[in-house]
Symmetry: C2
Subunit: 141 residues, 2 copies
């Protein structure tokens, strides 16, 4: 993966790689909604165009955030799974959810409810990550 | 601020508002580097085009993430300061820094050093926020 970075800043560098409107939503689909095929991800509510989804899956694979494989029972369909690097995006996603719950609700009145006040952040992140790892083990056996 | 959202998802809604390559960097410039004028922010290493910076400052102001004001001693220059909503982006920025330090360094060899292993995350966030609030008080008196 060759890529031009805008600066030596740690934050800018992440945005250079993943700072588009779709990459993190694909990670969300996989981590929180257990999506693992092109078809499943393409069916998400935001309606990503299939050519964009193709490009983003290639990007995420080139960054080793996801892996692509075929299962022994089905040689036709690609299965996408998050790596540990991808699973480690959970804390960023958690903080986005908390900020969103607190500040974005007033702009998007259709937003899903979220009981952010009563959660233990570290426990939720750990739970999500553990449970995704179990899902991966179940899929790849 | 009228805006079309792609879905009812809390994560997608934040990306709909701030999911571009510049908005969060402007918040970084203000929160971590104490930048407060157009000129100071425009001088950042990433080299944002002035028309883009103008547009992003307007966006951040419309979202009440920053405020624009003039100081009594200088009626010509606009001063931009983060609101509490903007200061509350610190935990998202912190998690991005930690993920970047761990996983992006291999792609951007010029990246600044960061001693993420030895930090207390909550303390760093609190320190950054407190110190920015003191800066704001100093500016607006």
């Amino acid at each position: 993966m060759k890529k031009k970075f805008r600066s030596s800043c740690l934050i800018a560098s992440v945005l250079d790689l993943l700072g588009d409107k779709w990459s993190l939503l694909i990670v969300r689909d996989m981590l929180l909604n257990r999506k693992k095929t092109f078809k499943e991800i393409a069916a998400s509510a935001e309606g990503i165009a299939t050519n964009l989804l193709s490009a983003r899956l290639k990007l995420l694979e080139s960054l080793a955030i996801i892996t692509k494989r075929k299962l022994s029972g089905n040689k036709k369909e690609n299965i996408y799974l998050l790596t540990e690097k991808g699973i480690d995006l959970a804390p960023i996603i958690m903080e986005i959810v908390l900020w969103s719950d607190k500040y974005v609700r007033e702009y998007n009145t259709e937003m899903l409810p979220y009981d952010s006040i009563n959660i233990n952040k570290a426990l939720v992140i750990e739970g999500v990550q553990k449970s995704y790892r179990a899902f991966v083990n179940e899929i790849i056996g």
